[in-house]
């Protein structure tokens, strides 16, 4: 085989190596800056890639603020499978119509909903809170172990239009998987949006961990969430 690279390639490769070195330094610096930005501030590149704080435009202007804090619906009225399944469940159009067949039954805002029912066409909601495809998140086990809805979804009762409250980066999950105690609450208060943690939340959490059988061993294994 003929020679692939001419001697000049040595100079080029040296130059490349130096550039590469500089690039690494610059990248590391950039990453450091990004990590230092608290991701809850939802600005800049982090928000772009993690979608934290992003409010997708929905086919219907559904307001969690109205339905949760003003009407006072429990999360499970609509998200029915949250205790039984990996998937919390998006309410079928029929669930909405339990009220809206009586109430606001003619407003133009809900035209899409009525059309869904009459034409038997499902509503295509944009997914707000999403994790990458290789993460197998299961709602039911988190509810069973006393992780509140608010812990991940934020104060949804204050959102007129729903946005992703946190950046679901691995660090966010691992914070709790490494040390669940300060994140747990009594199971019966899981859906309570105004639940106030006691002064010594860690003590309560440790008590709950014992009660609910939360074992930290294995919680940080890769295959707990990735398979």
């Amino acid at each position: 085989m003929s020679q692939i690279f001419k001697p000049r390639a040595n100079d080029i490769s040296r130059a490349l190596l130096i550039t590469l070195g500089l690039l690494i330094v610059v990248t590391l610096a950039a990453v450091e800056t990004m990590v230092l930005l608290p991701y809850v501030t939802m600005v800049g590149m982090v928000a772009k890639t993690t979608r934290a704080g992003i409010t997708p435009e929905q086919p219907l202007p559904f307001s969690h603020k109205h339905h949760v804090s003003e009407v006072g619906l429990d999360c499970r009225y609509c998200h029915t499978s949250v205790e039984d399944s990996s998937f919390a469940g998006i309410p079928p159009s029929h669930t909405c119509m339990t009220c809206h067949s009586q109430f606001l039954s003619t407003v133009p805002m809900l035209g899409e909903l009525r059309a869904s029912l009459t034409e038997n066409k499902p509503i295509h909601w944009k997914q707000v809170a999403s994790v990458p495809g290789y993460v197998y998140f299961d709602h039911s086990i988190h509810i069973a172990k006393g992780v509140g809805c608010e812990t991940c979804h934020g104060h949804i009762e204050t959102m007129p239009l729903t946005r992703q409250a946190h950046a679901f980066e691995m660090e966010f999950c691992l914070d709790c998987h490494r040390d669940p105690a300060p994140h747990l609450r009594p199971r019966e208060t899981v859906t309570q949006m105004d639940w106030q943690p006691p002064k010594n939340r860690r003590a309560l959490g440790e008590q709950l961990m014992a009660k609910y059988g939360v074992k930290t061993a294995g919680l940080t294994s890769c295959s707990t969430c990735h398979r």
Partner: protein, 975 residues
């Protein structure tokens, strides 16, 4: 063997080999053998500088860019009105029935929000007992096959269903007036009580209409044999649960007979070594004419030509006191003596089974021997024929077509243009039929020659019913609405009989069972049958026939054995008669013994190959009378002398994108006289062709000592099978394991090498099909493989199977070499593979001593054979290109069970987690569970004296271990 390969590794106790290549070539160059699976890239040509730089640049850019993507915006689409039983995210299971070689077999089908994705056996169904075979498993992929027929074709043009029903409405008055004269129906044997009743009704309505049936893999010889002995055609099935001695006369009992899954379970029951003691085992003798897994599992096997089996049966019958004319047998006399005396020692606890490819005389002899040995009613059982058949066969139909008696031919779920015997010239005679209608899953060879082709509904889209080998009926229920507006045979027959297309399959089946059950408690019984997957108490009543006293004398004299080469035709283990030819899973799954994949070959024994000067890959012309076929040769150890075996089902012309043109069409050599075998075959070497694709030398583990085998007698004599294994010092720290520790034990005594585990794993874990070119490069992706080893002479080798999944080493060599931590240990001892971290260095595969890692050389999901994203398990990540993968112990099932237990606030129960391979295994050879639970079956098995791990000297501490194979050869025969 003159040139035995020097044994390598240590602790070798047997001279094992995997393929003829290992015996003929001294040893592959070391470095080449040590390549990780599939190495040898597509860039075989030299690279110029420009391309090298382009590729380097592209790789850097791609490596850097892939991580910068923003998560795609996905939609959530709820139901408009959610069905009550559907909980999104949780699968539903339905009991239904699939066709297993002409009989019903109960399965449980998993539905993920309306999408059937996985099949497993129905434990309550007598033909399955919870087990699966690859042909059944593949049917779920067949459902989504994009090559399935998608519309009605009238003269090759797409037409609406109504145009066909209108046509029938116009013809029907003619049928009414002429009592159906000219109407002919061609079906396979019918196991559905509803369809059989409908056809009977149709014949009542149109008295002159004719029903013909044809099965390419027919079992008519058994019926003819029963006719000779009992004066009526009875079906025979077996109960091996109490059998101590089984003799198979060319019967592939554990892979091809109706009820094979049940037989395998019963055999395993008699051969499982429980505890340390060596109890007597069910002994299996096999006289066979090709290599089958039944023969591979025999304690004593004799390979003889197909035409010589009858002589062996006669010899045996004579030794057991029946007055038959003995033939000249090629089976040694001492062997027959020993078998006869062993049978005689176990009256009522033995069985002799004859294979469907043997002539009626062999079946008659088997019946007579069984009667003589008092096996009737205990191990051998008889029922009236289970399947309904037409008054005539395919020859009768062709005769009628030739005489111009067939005006309308309706072909239901059959493909005679492809699979009819060549001498019938079915294709040509079709021209004489005025109107040809074909109902089938595919627009196949027969559809192309029909005026009307109608798409058939897949079994997972249909309502129906079927009888199992013992007559037990079960219902077929749909899991999904027909994808392509297909119709079932029952719906079509109701159209012929005067119903519209509107007659729904469900109503037809309900009406049938309403008649059977009576109206009273019908609804309750219907629901119970649907839920359980069997109609309780529907097994056919057993009959206790008595052979006619003179039956033995009336057997026709044994045919003089002709010399020369003999051709033998057999169904393909996976494609069967060719109906599954377009199924990528089945095409790619290695055949149990030859390990051939993507194609068939003329199987020739080593001695015959030597005398003919042939080697694997040679192209030969096979000539039988005036028919010729050119086929590649595969030298298959254990094939009898002077026999060429060809598998049917290949060489399809209109199977679909996957199956077209794969292999050679053996039907071209098949005639009505030589249905299964023919003498006078001429073979001529045409030259060297491309070698058939076989996986037998893939993923070799350096020829070390892997399979351990012993005999009952050796155990009794105190011989040590498994030397005590000292703990190996390790530089790595010992891991502390809290909670469950998952482990697996595979019992080699009961593993029959049927490949059901491989097929089930592929279904469960979204394992891609890589296609023939990549299998040839050792890139097949099956997470569990079944290694097949031979021992002894190539002409009569002993065969040993060893399933090899990931060993889940506690000190896993793969983990230490991964530069990105993509393979790491989980708390419960699993060797996790983190796909999203993997950058594809393949170091792990290189460092794996067991060669169980598989690499995605391409984006196989795009190149799929066929691409079927619908069948994918939503709980298993679909791996992209450049990612390593391997067996996970069905991690998704473990986590799902743990979450379920956590939700229900309890601990995991023993046996709650079952891996896909374990669940599918017909013999329950695979045990899986928590090693920390001291009472678990797997923890007990680990204490078994025959338990051993592979390569203990490496200190990898595998979690998967094996129980050494134990056989029980007859001391009178010797080994």
């Amino acid at each position: 063997m003159e040139k035995q390969r020097p044994s390598r590794g240590n602790g070798k106790n047997m001279d094992l080999w995997r393929g003829m290549e290992e015996l003929t070539t001294p040893a592959a160059p070391h470095g080449q053998e040590n390549e990780p699976a599939g190495a040898g890239g597509p860039l075989s040509e030299p690279l110029d500088r420009r391309s090298a730089l382009k590729l380097m640049g592209a790789s850097i850019a791609l490596a850097g860019m892939t991580a910068c993507g923003r998560l795609p915006q996905e939609s959530l689409v709820p139901y408009v009105n959610r069905p009550e039983e559907v909980i999104p995210g949780r699968p539903l299971w339905f009991a239904t029935t699939l066709d297993s070689d002409g009989y019903g077999c109960g399965v449980l089908a998993k539905s993920n929000t309306g999408r059937p994705t996985f099949l497993e056996g129905n434990p309550d169904h007598p033909a399955s007992l919870g087990a699966m075979d690859p042909r059944l498993q593949g049917q779920v992929l067949g459902l989504y096959d994009p090559d399935r027929s998608q519309s009605v074709l009238a003269g090759g043009e797409v037409a609406p269903w109504e145009s066909f029903t209108d046509l029938i409405r116009q013809i029907r008055p003619v049928w009414e007036a002429r009592h159906g004269r000219g109407l002919a129906l061609l079906t396979p044997s019918v196991s559905s009580p509803t369809l059989a009743a409908q056809i009977a009704d149709l014949q009542k309505r149109y008295a002159e209409a004719r029903w013909y049936s044809y099965d390419p893999i027919d079992r008519s010889a058994a019926a003819a044999g029963a006719q000779q002995v009992f004066g009526r055609p009875l079906d025979t099935h077996y109960d091996f649960s109490s059998a101590r001695v089984i003799l198979s006369l060319d019967s592939d009992l554990f892979a091809e007979e109706p009820g094979h899954l049940r037989y395998a379970r019963q055999l395993a029951h008699g051969r499982r070594v429980t505890g340390g003691s060596a109890q007597d085992m069910t002994r299996l003798y096999v006289v066979e004419s090709t290599t089958t897994i039944t023969g591979a599992n025999a304690d004593h096997r004799q390979a003889v030509r197909a035409s010589a089996v009858e002589a062996a049966a006669r010899g045996l019958a004579a030794r057991l006191g029946l007055s038959v004319a003995p033939g000249s047998s090629t089976v040694p006399s001492s062997w027959l003596d020993a078998v006869a005396s062993d049978l005689r020692r176990h009256p009522g606890k033995c069985a002799v089974a004859a294979g469907y490819s043997q002539p009626p005389a062999v079946h008659a002899l088997a019946q007579l021997i069984n009667y003589q040995l008092g096996a009737f009613g205990t191990t051998v059982r008889h029922t009236e024929p289970i399947n309904a058949q037409g008054a005539g066969g395919l020859s009768d139909l062709v005769a009628a077509m030739e005489a111009g008696e067939v005006a309308v031919l309706v072909m239901l779920d059959c493909n005679p243009v492809y699979d009819a015997p060549a001498n019938l010239d079915f294709d040509r005679h079709l021209d004489r039929v005025g109107l040809r209608v074909h109902l089938g899953l595919y627009a196949d060879e027969t559809a192309a020659r029909s005026h009307w082709h109608l798409p058939m509904a897949h079994a997972l889209e249909s309502w129906g019913d079927a009888r199992a080998f013992d007559g037990t009926a079960s219902l077929v229920q749909p899991l999904i609405a027909p994808l392509y507006n297909g119709s079932t045979p029952t719906e079509l027959v109701s159209v012929l009989a005067g119903g519209g297309k509107g007659a729904r399959g469900r109503d037809l089946v309900r009406a049938q069972w309403q008649g059977a059950h009576g109206a009273g408690s019908f609804d309750a019984r219907w629901r119970e049958s649907l839920a359980a997957g069997v109609v309780s108490g529907s097994a056919a009543p057993l009959v206790r026939p008595h052979p006619r006293t003179s039956a033995a004398q009336h057997l026709s004299a044994p045919a003089a054995s002709a010399g020369g080469l003999e051709l033998q035709l057999r169904p393909d283990p996976w494609l069967w008669d060719g109906r599954y030819a377009n199924n990528g899973w089945l095409q790619e799954l290695p055949r149990p013994l030859s390990k051939l994949s993507w194609g068939n070959a003329a199987l020739i024994g080593p001695a015959t190959a030597k005398s003919l000067g042939l080697k694997s890959g040679d192209l030969v012309a096979l000539t039988l009378g005036d028919r010729a076929l050119s086929a590649p040769v595969w030298v298959q150890p254990g094939e009898p002398r002077d026999t060429v075996t060809l598998n049917l089902g290949y060489g399809r012309r209109r199977a679909g994108a996957v199956g077209n043109g794969i292999g050679v069409d053996a039907y071209r050599l098949r005639t009505t006289q030589s249905h299964w075998q023919a003498t006078g075959l001429a073979l001529k070497r045409e030259g060297a062709g491309p070698a058939p694709i076989s996986t037998q030398l893939h993923d070799t583990m350096e020829g070390r000592d892997f399979v351990r085998a012993t005999t009952v007698a050796q155990i009794r004599s105190g011989a040590q099978v498994v030397p005590p294994q000292k703990p190996t010092p390790s530089i790595y720290p010992v891991r502390e394991v809290e909670g469950p520790a998952w482990g697996m034990v595979i019992d080699l005594s009961t593993c029959i090498g049927c490949m059901a585990c491989v097929a089930a794993c592929q279904n469960e874990n979204n394992t891609p099909v890589v296609g023939p070119a990549d299998v040839a490069r050792s890139r097949a992706m099956h997470w569990i493989r079944v290694d097949r080893y031979y021992q002894g002479s190539p002409d009569a080798p002993r065969t040993l199977f060893q399933p090899v999944p990931c060993m889940q080493c506690e000190q896993a060599p793969c983990e230490y070499v991964c530069p990105v931590g993509a393979t790491v240990h989980s708390q419960d001892g699993l060797n996790d593979m983190v796909y999203n971290r993997c950058i594809g260095t393949r170091f792990c595969s290189q460092n794996c001593p067991y060669k169980v890692r598989r690499f995605n050389w391409r984006d196989y999901r795009q190149a799929g054979f066929p691409p079927s994203p619908e069948v994918e398990n939503p709980n298993v990540t679909v791996r992209g290109r450049g990612v390593m993968e391997k067996c996970t112990y069905c991690l998704q099932r473990i986590r799902e069970a743990q979450i379920r237990a956590g939700r229900e606030r309890r601990s995991l129960a023993e046996g709650e987690v079952q891996t896909a391979c374990q669940r599918a295994c017909p013999t329950r050879a695979i045990q899986f569970g928590d090693l920390h639970a001291k009472d678990s079956a797997v923890a007990r098995a680990k204490q078994h004296p025959l338990n051993y791990v592979l390569l203990p000297e490496l200190g990898t501490l595998p979690r998967t271990s094996y129980l050494a194979r134990v056989t029980d050869p007859n001391p009178e025969i010797g080994t």
